[in-house]
């Protein structure tokens, strides 16, 4: 295995409390030594990466992506999705189970993890909570965990029945898996394709009320409260409404293990960005009101949010070039997440760089128990991102490593240009331009 030395960069490792100029020696997929510039001991034969003027940080971790395999390789494959991840500075991604077939079995989980998939960075499958994500019969969580699953969810098909959700939370807690809920009371969102509000009225589209999200979050918090099992962990996926984030904040104050993630589009865009039926501004949960968007910014700044996750959801061009209400939900996000976060959270809204990086590495790693990741200490995985934190660049969806192009951020100016992404000691992406 190759050995790498990253020399002269500013190492920012929030979990270890490091923010200093350091040289790093990586070997056999692990961090072997960290030392002051020029002070590494034995680095014979190692390839040297000059990181002078650059930031060196733990590889980013996205706990919410759709890699579309098995079953929808025309949208994305594990190979193309993880190539996009590497280009975006990510070294680990957690893959949602709404594949074809649904990932509700150890076989599918293992298939996704097989070397033949050609993953460029580490993939952590999230398994379906119920058989076929139908919300009826629970899967075998112990077997799924043994096969490599890090959490369970019926993402996109929220578990409506209280009795089933209660059982899911209890069973997952017993084997130490997190439960991720896409919070949406689908009984309130039939036929809807954007947020319910003045904009949906104006556009003549049926709207999803914010209560469809917050009501489900409140229901889940009630269930986990009643469960009284300290091991139970409820993670609310892609929170988008002020009321839902308020519910998470309150649950946290009561000492419950309830966490949440926010996607860049929900802290940046509003329903106004739907414009005149831009299907690349259609996702679920939908873009919300300005007040909701502002509540996401606040929740990130004041620490209620545990992770930034992209909900990377690739769709083929022809699927998005249709009537708005017929277009599938979702946008790509892996290549824009860091650039958007640095441009807006850090530069504009003054969130310290270390906190941005923590929301995109240390905290998501801790959420799903990814041991040895999200930090760069001796012995941890050699998952590293090296980037120029000040450089501005323009995102071009056409140049994406993803198979799909469905991004509302095409042509946006982003900040923070990635030089290298290193996954377990191998260079998974480099851009020396």
């Amino acid at each position: 295995m190759t050995a790498l030395v990253i020399r002269g960069g500013q190492l920012i490792d929030p979990a270890a409390g490091v923010d200093a100029l350091k040289d790093i020696f990586l070997k056999d997929g692990r961090v072997v030594e960290i030392a002051a510039p020029g002070k590494l001991k034995a680095t014979n034969g190692a390839e040297v990466l000059d990181a002078t003027g650059l930031t060196v940080a733990p590889g980013l971790i996205d706990i919410h992506v759709h890699l579309r395999e098995p079953g929808q390789a025309y949208k994305e494959t594990i190979a193309s999705g993880t190539a996009a991840a590497a280009a975006g500075g990510f070294t680990a991604v957690a893959a949602m189970p709404n594949t074809l077939p649904v990932n509700d079995s150890p076989e599918t989980t293992r298939w996704m993890l097989a070397p033949e998939r050609g993953a460029k960075v580490r993939v952590f499958p999230i398994a379906a909570a119920t058989r076929g994500s139908k919300g009826e019969a629970l899967n075998d969580y112990a077997a799924l965990k043994a096969a490599g699953a890090v959490a369970v969810t019926d993402d996109g098909r929220p578990i409506l029945k209280d009795s089933i959700m209660r059982e899911v939370l209890a069973s997952a807690a017993r084997v130490g898996l997190s439960v991720i809920q896409h919070a949406e009371d689908t009984r309130l969102t039939q036929g809807a394709s954007m947020n319910l509000g003045p904009m949906s009225f104006k556009l003549g589209l049926r709207g999803m009320p914010p209560e469809a999200e917050s009501g489900m979050v409140e229901r889940d918090i009630r269930l986990i409260t009643e469960l009284r099992d300290a091991r139970a962990h409820l993670h609310v996926a892609h929170v988008s409404t002020a009321a839902a984030v308020a519910a998470v904040r309150q649950a946290r104050r009561s000492g419950l293990r309830v966490t949440c993630e926010v996607a860049p589009h929900h802290f940046l865009l509003t329903e106004e960005h739907v414009g005149l039926y831009n299907t690349n501004a259609k996702m679920n949960p939908p873009l919300r009101s300005a007040a909701d968007r502002d509540a996401m910014i606040d929740a990130i700044l004041d620490g209620v949010v545990d992770a930034i996750a992209t909900d990377h959801a690739p769709h083929a061009l022809h699927e998005k070039e249709v009537e708005f209400e017929n277009a599938p939900n979702g946008i790509t996000g892996l290549e824009t997440a860091l650039g958007l976060s640095l441009r807006w959270l850090h530069k504009e809204w003054k969130l310290p760089l270390g906190r941005v990086l923590s929301l995109m590495s240390a905290q998501p790693a801790a959420l799903l128990g990814m041991k040895g990741r999200g930090t760069l200490t001796v012995g941890s995985f050699a998952d590293v991102v090296v980037f120029d934190p000040k450089a501005e660049w323009t995102y071009r969806a056409a140049d994406s490593k993803s198979k799909s192009r469905n991004s509302p951020f095409d042509g946006w100016t982003l900040q923070g240009k990635i030089r290298w992404t290193i996954s377990e000691g191998r260079i998974a992406y480099s851009n020396l331009a």
């Binding site: 003549g204 308020a246 309150q250 968007r293 606040d298």
Partner: protein, 342 residues
Amino acid sequence: MSQVAIPVRRQLQTPPVEASPYPYNPGSLLSVQDLSPDGLSHVLARATALENQDPLARARILAKRRVALLFYESSTRTRTSFELAAKSLGADTALISSLSSSIEKGESLKDTGLTLRALGAEAIILRHNSSGAAWLLEEATRLPILNAGDGMHEHPTQALLDLRTILAHLRPGIEAVTADTLAGVTVSIVGDILHSRVARSNMLLLPRLGARVVLCGPKELLPELAANAGPGVSIERNLEVALAQSQVIVMLRIQAERLAGLQLDLEEYKAAYQLTGQRLATFAPSAVVLHPGPIIRGLELTSEVADGPQSAILEQVRNGVAIRMAVVERALVAAAQQGGRA
């Protein structure tokens, strides 16, 4: 659960919303907002001029030009009047409806549009059941697109023919409209506002000419947030209060095909919102009654009203042909010179 007080935030800079690139083609009429006051005046003046022109001379204006009518929903008035309008100007028309074409086989709107363009269509008149379909078709083909109704969103030529009808009654002889042409006029739109593209186009158009638009209907068909639809638009739940303020009353049909499971007690609805001869005589004895059609006699209005002296329903239909001649001409003749976007 208890609400947690969120402190008021300092004002933060957030990403801007980009300006709309539509319409791409200056001949398109996607929304009533695509017409400036000058553009509106021009369409109104051309409608009158074309209506009065010698039919043989008129038929030379678009002689042998090709216009496609692409209809994904059934229609009597709109389709026939667009077709008659285009033919009156000498254009060749082709009608494509979703039930007798490759649309049934799954051809997308984009591909259908590109196919029509390749067949020589120079403009497409589109009626579609999805809101926003006209924008999609314009982006795909870059042809002049005339929106003949997109889902629950807009129906700009209906609003224009309504305007022509209103002007004929309240401002006879006026065609050059300005921001105060309809100052002092209140137009009540009554009934199923939520599902109505006619209501949306009218509430965007009429206030721009100084009219006040009052929306009237039950909560199920008129959500409170409609009050934010734009300047000059307000909500009045009581029909009689609305009538008493109105010079113009636009009655709407309940769109059973778009109710999507919504339960409505029709007897209750009629008791509160049906326009009867008695109500009209008592509360708006000199108002003009409009209805975009199709009318359902005995539901939103009685026969007495539909056939009565205050009804301008058939006048609207006649005005439809004139207005559509003007917008079809605008689509194909030097559209850029005839007043661009608002």
